[in-house]
């Protein structure tokens, strides 16, 4: 017999029935997964990062499997914000899914423009701001690796949409001081943080003896990076205990989701695991419920950051 567990959670002022979400770029716009389970049964669908204009993305090969993980270099292929808002969002809302739109830009201005377009859409739960993109105005330096650029992106989005939709800033782990980047975007107006985006990696193809991916480097995801995600979430939760975190990185089971929650995540996105198992989100959600019950938690809320309970500082 399992005790009933209240799985509901919040990020800023957005409420979700469960803490298990898709990860941006790992569920397209939700349609394909809906063949395996109703999208309203999970916490939220985080859509693939969308940009202003349609994009072809990077050349193939776009992926390489690595031990307990994979590299991808998709390069944000997508239809552009207008087509996305006209086609994908209405369909998702019809399914009664909670929708978090992920936006990505090449300039600080592009992020603000994207945020402005979201104002016209009702029914969205939050906006996730993917700042792990190259800043074309600054030698292609990734926004998330530059404390100042990160802050300015979030500041621009806040000015446009702040207070209307919770702003979740998605950070890259490839930085020397994650907590300070986190502090910067929170000061600039982020209501929540998404941790972690992929880790920069590369695979050399031993036949061509060149980098395997069309984009040369790619983002490492999957269970291989879970210890990095747990550390990032733990560190940032310790530094900013009031800021909700949407955790992600290698979650493939209820055990993994609970690990991230104990470290400080209020919600958990599942990415790569869906590629190997289209019903991963549902089984993770069920396993999480059982694990929480077995540990005497009546609500997810009680478990968030529980691993910090005896911290002196």
């Amino acid at each position: 017999m399992t005790l009933p567990v209240d799985l509901s959670t919040t990020l800023g002022n957005a409420w979700f029935p469960t803490p298990i979400f898709t990860a941006s770029g790992c569920a397209s716009s939700g349609k394909e997964l809906s063949q395996f389970f109703p999208l309203k049964d999970i916490g939220a669908v985080v859509t693939k990062s969308v940009m202003s204009k349609p994009r072809h993305g990077r050349p193939t090969p776009r992926m390489a499997e690595t031990p307990s993980g994979m590299l991808n270099s998709i390069g944000l292929q997508g239809p552009g914000i207008d087509s996305f808002l006209a086609n994908d969002v209405p369909w998702l809302l019809e399914q009664k899914a909670r929708v978090i739109v992920s936006i990505a830009g090449e300039t600080i201005e592009e992020y603000s423009t994207l945020a402005r377009k979201l104002r016209s859409v009702s029914g969205l739960s939050a906006v996730e701001v993917n700042i792990s993109c190259p800043n074309v105005e600054n030698r292609g330096l990734v926004f998330a690796c530059d404390p100042d650029a990160s802050r300015r992106v979030i500041d621009g989005v806040r000015k446009t949409i702040g207070g209307e939709l919770p702003i979740i800033a998605k950070l890259s782990p490839d930085v020397t001081d994650l907590a300070s980047i986190a502090r910067g975007v929170v000061d600039a107006g982020a209501d929540a943080l998404a941790l972690i985006n992929t880790v920069l990696g590369m695979v050399i193809n031993l036949d061509t003896m060149k980098p395997h991916l069309g984009g040369k480097t790619g983002g490492l995801s999957g269970p291989a990076i879970r210890p990095v995600a747990v550390r990032a979430i733990y560190q940032v939760h310790a530094a900013l205990p009031q800021i909700p975190i949407l955790g992600m990185g290698g979650v493939a089971s209820g055990r993994d989701a609970l690990e991230l929650i104990l470290a400080g995540a209020s919600g958990v996105s599942v990415g790569t695991a869906s590629f190997g198992n289209p019903t991963a989100l549902i089984s993770i959600q069920n396993e999480l419920r059982d694990l929480l019950a077995a540990r005497g938690f009546a609500t997810v809320q009680q478990a968030i950051g529980f691993a910090h309970r005896d911290e002196s500082v």
Partner: protein, 282 residues
């Protein structure tokens, strides 16, 4: 918006046969009533490596044939080349092993409503889905010729039973160890002309598909090819498997070969752009 094969389900199935055939393994799965929704050209995605596997992605294989009246209920046949760690693992599994599969996936070969003259061209294990296709074409009254090619004879997959459904079969190997020496494209145009081919169905390495497309470009022949791009998910959610495909307005889109393929119209694929990115944004 294109969408995933409506019949796709995730299921546990059992291996009921695993036999070496030349360089390949013929693997038989008991898949029950799933056979009813499988069409020639569709593929299956299989989780590999067992419970403690370091391989996080499924492996894609063409459905070679399905059969509804075997002793096991519905069975599905795969032809698997032991290539890297995932396919080698699969080839090493014995009868009774349970597999986690998602199937059927992707598009299928278009079946003509009229009896036509069809030429089926397979490269390596690419012949696998062609025999099932030949069966179907035969029941529609089509004339079915087949060309198979590979580097060496052991990589030609042409089972006895399969040959029943084809009117003629020509085999090419690059080293001449079986059939004629050379490639399937060698005298393709002659064959097309002599036999009055209406449709070419092909499956094999991308270079072969591109070469066939180029050869028949100036003819009336329709070329349906099953492409093979590395796939992370097989169900349309990752965008890794894209191919540049010409739209009706002349622009190019990067289409997912797992849901807009694997079967595509060869003349629509921008073979020159595979591995590149179309320069003009849509």
């Amino acid at each position: 918006m294109s969408s995933i094969n409506r019949s796709a389900v995730q299921r546990k199935v059992t291996i009921v046969g695993n036999k070496r055939v030349g360089a390949y393994h013929q693997i038989l799965l008991n898949v029950g009533d799933l056979v009813k929704s499988c069409k020639p050209g569709n593929f299956i995605a299989i989780a590999v490596g067992g419970e403690s596997s370091k391989m996080v992605l499924r492996r894609a294989f063409a459905i070679s044939r399905v059969s509804d009246n075997s002793q096991y209920g519905g069975t599905m046949e795969l032809i698997v080349a032991p290539h890297g760690s995932g396919s080698r693992w699969l080839c090493a599994q014995i009868e009774g092993t349970e597999l986690d599969i998602v199937a059927p996936l992707g598009t299928a070969f278009g079946i003509p409503t009229e009896p036509i003259n069809a030429l089926l061209i397979g490269g390596g294990y690419g012949s696998a889905p062609l025999f099932g296709l030949a069966d179907v074409l035969k029941t529609r009254g089509c004339k079915v010729d087949m060309l198979l090619g590979a580097s060496v004879g052991s990589k030609i997959y042409a089972p006895m039973e399969g040959k029943r459904s084809v009117n003629s079969l020509r085999i090419y190997t690059e080293d001449g160890s079986m059939g004629e020496t050379g490639r399937v494209t060698e005298s393709l145009l002659d064959i097309v002309q002599q036999r009055g081919i209406d449709v070419i169905y092909s499956c094999g390495p991308m270079a072969m598909l591109a070469a066939i497309t180029a050869l028949v470009a100036d003819t009336e022949v329709i070329h349906q090819c099953a492409v093979e791009e590395a796939m992370a998910c097989g169900i349309g959610i990752c965008m890794t498997c894209v191919l540049p495909v010409t739209n009706s307005d002349g622009t190019t889109s990067m289409l997912r070969s797992c849901i807009d393929g694997p079967v595509m119209d060869g003349s629509h694929v921008r073979w020159d752009l595979v591995g590149k990115v179309p320069e003009v944004q849509q």
